[in-house]
């Protein structure tokens, strides 16, 4: 419960801080290492096929943070990153399904409708530190598992894709 309250508080503060910022200017080409590639039906593109984002660009998107335990780690962890819905909004993504793929070739497909207000989060900071490949980085899509029982299901667990490298918005 304490965890939940803390998560909620953080969520509210961050959302309040970031809201209204928006991301009107188009993404330029990435300057650093590309951490995430987005393809498919998106409005903002900086390559032929889609959008390649480095960590810096990711940081310019609306930020969200929460603390939760996960079934793969010991103890509560604080995650920070971009909510998938915010990414969708920022990129002007459309379509009905989202395909996500990891560096270890793990992939999932989820319907667009499953993207909710409070999750999933495309986290690139865990406990304030960037995540390496060994720590399920650079991007780990997590849910606030402690917040809601609905996030502690087999499906949510299977969607918690780590070492995420590619998102494709399809029809």
């Amino acid at each position: 419960m304490k965890v939940f309250l803390r998560t909620l508080l953080a969520l509210i503060l961050l959302t309040a801080g970031m809201s209204g910022l928006g991301h009107s200017e188009p993404f330029g080409p990435p300057k650093g290492a590309v951490v995430l590639t987005v393809t498919g039906q998106i409005a903002a593109k900086n390559t032929e096929t889609g959008l390649a984002l480095d960590a810096e660009q990711l940081a310019t998107l609306p930020q969200t943070s929460f603390t939760t335990t996960t079934t793969w780690t010991d103890g509560p962890q604080t995650f920070q990153g971009v909510l998938l819905k915010d990414l969708i909004a920022a990129l002007g993504a459309t379509g009905s399904t989202i395909s996500l793929r990891a560096a270890n070739d793990y992939s999932i497909i989820m319907p667009m409708a499953d993207v909710k207000e409070d999750g999933p989060l495309l986290a690139y900071l865990m406990n304030g530190k960037p995540m390496s490949l060994r720590d399920k980085g650079p991007i780990w899509m997590v849910y606030p598992y402690d917040l809601n029982e609905a996030f502690r299901t087999e499906e949510t667990y299977s969607r918690s894709i780590w070492q995420l490298v590619l998102i494709d918005f399809g029809a």
Partner: protein, 845 residues
């Protein structure tokens, strides 16, 4: 009459709550099981289950990929190491899940996953520094790393197999546990359903029983209704508020209302008139109206007045009972119109009254007849007595004797009838005089001895106990014994008659006299023994003509015996003779110095001057002859007026006064004599055939001292001549003559009696006051004597005998020249005596 419940229904009724409790228990159990199953399901669903198999296979996949990269780099030392390092990192990341995550942790698997974690940790710890190290060092170590990786793969493989085995077993266990839960659940469910079905069956059963019960109730109430409707008595049921809730057919015909007209209306005012309810008739009428008065409920039957629809009141008899109904107490009145019964009762009462009146008329007729007969008979007998004494011719004497016998027989008949009449009217009085039992009986026996001797009958008298001097009526006792004796003489033939007598002490000090007259005659059949004591019964009618008697002898004897408080009867066996017995309790006589019983033919009497006032010449002659025989000096007068004149002119010692006379009757003449004249202090004795109750008082009230009842005998005359009072003349009498009062009451009825009593109180009060007042005034003694005489007459009429004695005593004293003493007594005693008398009379009312 409880409806016969089937036993199973009763059982079902008892089982229902038990069943419900058990059902609740199973429901609770079901709930608990449900909760457990739910929690099991929740734990199944929310278990941190990154699929274990997936994790293991991914671990192996990543390991294979890593080993392939190592092999590539071992084969081609010039190849870049980036992909090897990335594969290592991916494997590293996967291994972290095993070490830190709970993807492989399950209850019961901890040891295996921990050992796996430790293996991986050890591997990562040895290899990661090489991966992170310079390329040259890495390349140099690659073959060794490949070897260690193979070893790790083998370890992981072994552990995985064991894990999977273990997991399979655990899953089986868990499935079994859940299955058990589900089984329990199913069992509980089945039980619950079973219970529910039982409960349903029970409810159906009870419902059926209730329906049956209801049907029975309906049937019973229908039967009850039929009973009530067909009841002969009217039945009215009212509720707690007195409103009619049931009214049967008989009630309809009794009260004239249709059932629907009265239902729901209050019974009072409708069936019972309001004014009747208010009336103070002991609350009788209020009862139906106030049926809810609990004191009347179950109080048995009572009668009251009810109201017909037409407004006619009629008598009813009713009883009220009550019962608890559904809506409070109800009151059930069973009632019956008793008009017809009342009418019958009235008719019966009237018939009885008429019969009584007829009886009274008969009695009076008989009394008058006996009087009318005895007066001439008196003359006949007396004349015959004189004639017999004077007859010298034997044949003449025989005829006279026959005539005497016949006259005596006739007189006996008249006396018998009069006795019966007297006793019927309750007017028989008994003397209380002293007599010696043995000598009295001896006299009686000796009287019949001549006739017994004549007929050859042996006659004995035995006193079996010491004799006693008793107080009673020797004449009536003698009458009974004589009757026994004459019967015995008639029937014994030439046998023996034994008279036995006993006087046995009783507990209260009295003596029980038993007299037995035993004969050796033919006896009396048992069937006849009771009949002979009835009026006018003769066993042998032919004997009547021979033996005489109207068949009243034993009947009169029995009445006499019972009236004196005794009893008589007969013991007899045909052929063995009879024993008639009389038992009579009598008190011992007080010791008396004087009043020796006078015997006929006693000592010579001193000569007195006697005036005989008698209108009947024969009677006059008889009296003259008898008195002359007794050595008296006699003057005769033929009516009351002449007698009174004679008495006034000359002083007589004794005046014998007939009562019924032309010109002036004896009473009037007596009053005249008492009022003034030379003989006003003479003893005046009434000579009369009137001997009905009350006569004596009338005579006394007129100033007479005694009475001589016709027919006259020497003995009676002797008694009068020696101045002996007749038995009725008791000195120091009671305040009131009860006999006189009861006679009066019987004669005039209670209502008139009360009126007379009131009149007496008024008149006597005035008389008493006047006497006292006059006694204090200087008037002549004669005037005062007249006033006393009048007052004593008033007192006598109502039987105030003590007051009357006082007044007539005073009157006599005044006439005898003892005025001073008499006046003093009158002043001192009259008013207190009157006060006592008044209280006694008031008590009667």
């Amino acid at each position: 009459m409880a409806p016969p419940f089937p036993p199973f229904a009763t059982l079902a009724r008892a089982a229902r709550p038990v069943l419900i409790v058990v059902l609740c228990g199973t429901l609770l159990l079901l709930g608990a099981l449900g909760l457990r199953i739910q929690s099991a399901l929740v734990s199944l669903r929310s278990e941190a289950t990154d699929n274990l198999y997936w994790n293991l296979s991914q671990l192996e996949v990543d390991l294979v990929r890593l080993s392939e990269e190592i092999r590539v780099n071992v084969a081609d030392p010039a190849a870049p190491l980036d992909e090897l390092r990335r594969r290592h990192d991916l494997f590293y990341s996967r291994a972290q899940n095993v070490i830190h995550g709970n993807g492989l942790t399950r209850a019961g698997l901890e040891d295996l996953s921990q050992s796996l974690g430790r293996n991986l940790e050890a591997y990562l710890a040895s290899e990661t520094p090489l991966i992170d190290g310079p390329d040259a060092v890495l390349r140099q170590n690659l073959p060794a790393m490949a070897g260690r990786l193979v070893q790790l793969r083998e370890d992981i493989r072994q552990t995985s197999i064991r894990l999977i085995e273990r997991l399979a077993r655990l899953s089986d266990e868990r499935r079994a546990a859940v299955a058990l839960l589900v089984q329990q659940m199913a069992l509980a469910m089945a039980t619950t359903i079973g219970l529910l079905i039982s409960l349903l069956a029970l409810v159906i059963l009870l419902n059926r029983a209730a329906i049956r019960e209801g049907r029975m109730t309906v049937q019973m109430s229908r039967q009850l209704k039929a009973t009530v409707d067909s009841a002969l008595d009217a039945i009215v049921v009212v509720d707690d508020h007195g409103r009619i809730i049931q009214f049967n057919a008989s009630a309809e015909s009794t009260f004239g209302y249709a059932r629907d007209e009265v239902m729901g209306h209050p019974a009072s005012g409708l069936l019972i008139a309001e004014d009747l309810i208010a009336e103070a008739d002991g609350g009788g009428a209020a009862r139906l109206g106030g049926m809810d008065d609990l004191r009347l409920v179950d109080a048995g039957r009572f009668q009251t007045q009810a109201l017909h629809r037409t407004g006619r009141a009629f008598p009813i008899e009713l009883s009220i009972s009550s019962a608890e109904g559904d809506e409070g107490r109800i009151f059930i009145a069973f009632l019956r119109d008793i008009s017809a019964r009342r009418a019958a009762e009235t008719a019966l009462t009237r018939a009885r009254d008429e019969a009584l009146a007829a009886e009274k008329t008969k009695t009076e007729f008989l009394a008058v007849m006996s009087h009318e007969m005895r007066t001439p008979l008196n003359g006949v007998i007396a004349s015959l007595e004189i004639a017999s004494r004077k007859a010298s011719d034997p044949e003449q004497a025989r005829f006279i004797a026959l005539a005497q016998e016949s006259a005596n027989l006739l007189l006996r008949h008249a006396n018998d009838v009069l006795d019966i009449t007297r006793m019927e009217g309750g007017g028989m009085r008994f003397a209380a005089e002293s007599f010696d039992l043995q000598s009295h009986l001896s006299d009686l026996v000796e009287m019949v001895r001549p006739i017994c001797t004549e007929r050859g009958i042996a006659l004995d008298f035995q006193m079996l106990t010491p004799s006693a001097r008793l107080c009673g009526d020797p004449f009536r006792l003698g009458q009974i014994v004589q009757n026994f004796l004459s019967n015995a003489i008639k029937f014994v033939g030439q046998g023996r008659i034994t008279v036995e007598a006993e006087a046995n002490p009783l507990e209260d000090g009295r003596r029980e006299v038993e007299i037995r007259v035993i004969d050796t005659g033919p006896g009396i059949a048992l069937a006849d023994q009771e009949r002979i004591f009835q009026d006018f019964v003769m066993l042998d009618p032919s004997f009547h003509r021979a033996g005489g008697g109207a068949g009243l002898g034993l009947a009169i004897s029995r009445r006499l015996a019972e009236a004196m408080g005794g009893a008589l009867g007969v013991e007899s066996e045909p052929g063995q003779g009879s024993c008639f017995w009389l038992r009579l309790p009598l008190p011992l006589a007080a010791v008396q110095a004087a009043a020796e019983p006078l015997q006929p033919g006693g000592p010579a009497l001193p000569a007195q001057d006697i005036l005989v006032v008698e209108d009947n010449a024969t009677n006059r002659a008889v009296l003259e002859e008898m008195l002359r025989h007794l050595g008296q000096r006699i003057v005769l007068a033929s009516d009351g007026a002449k007698g009174a004149a004679e008495a006034a002119a000359r002083r007589y010692d004794l005046i014998l006064m007939d009562i019924s006379m032309p010109v002036m009757d004896g009473l009037e003449a007596t009053r005249l004599i008492r009022a003034d004249g030379a003989s006003r202090a003479a003893r005046i004795v009434a000579v009369t055939a009137h001997s009905l109750p009350g006569d004596l008082d009338r005579f006394r009230a007129a100033g007479m001292d005694d009475v001589l009842v016709k027919p006259l005998s020497h003995a009676a005359l002797r008694q009068i001549l020696v101045g002996r009072a007749l038995p009725e003349d008791r000195p120091e009498a009671m305040l009131l003559d009860r006999g006189r009062i009861s006679d009066l009451k019987i004669a005039v009825g209670a209502e008139t009696f009360a009126r007379l009593a009131q009149g007496f109180l008024r008149d006597a009060e005035a008389q008493a006051q006047r006497v006292v007042q006059e006694a204090g005034q200087p008037g002549t003694d004669a005037d005062l004597a007249a006033i006393c005489h009048e007052a004593s007459g008033v007192a006598a009429v109502f039987g105030a005998q003590k007051l009357q004695a006082h007044l007539s005593g005073a009157e006599r004293a005044l006439r005898d020249g003892q005025g001073q003493a008499a006046r003093a007594r009158l002043i001192a005693e009259t008013l207190p005596l009157w006060a006592q008398t008044r209280a006694a009379v008031a008590d009667l009312l």
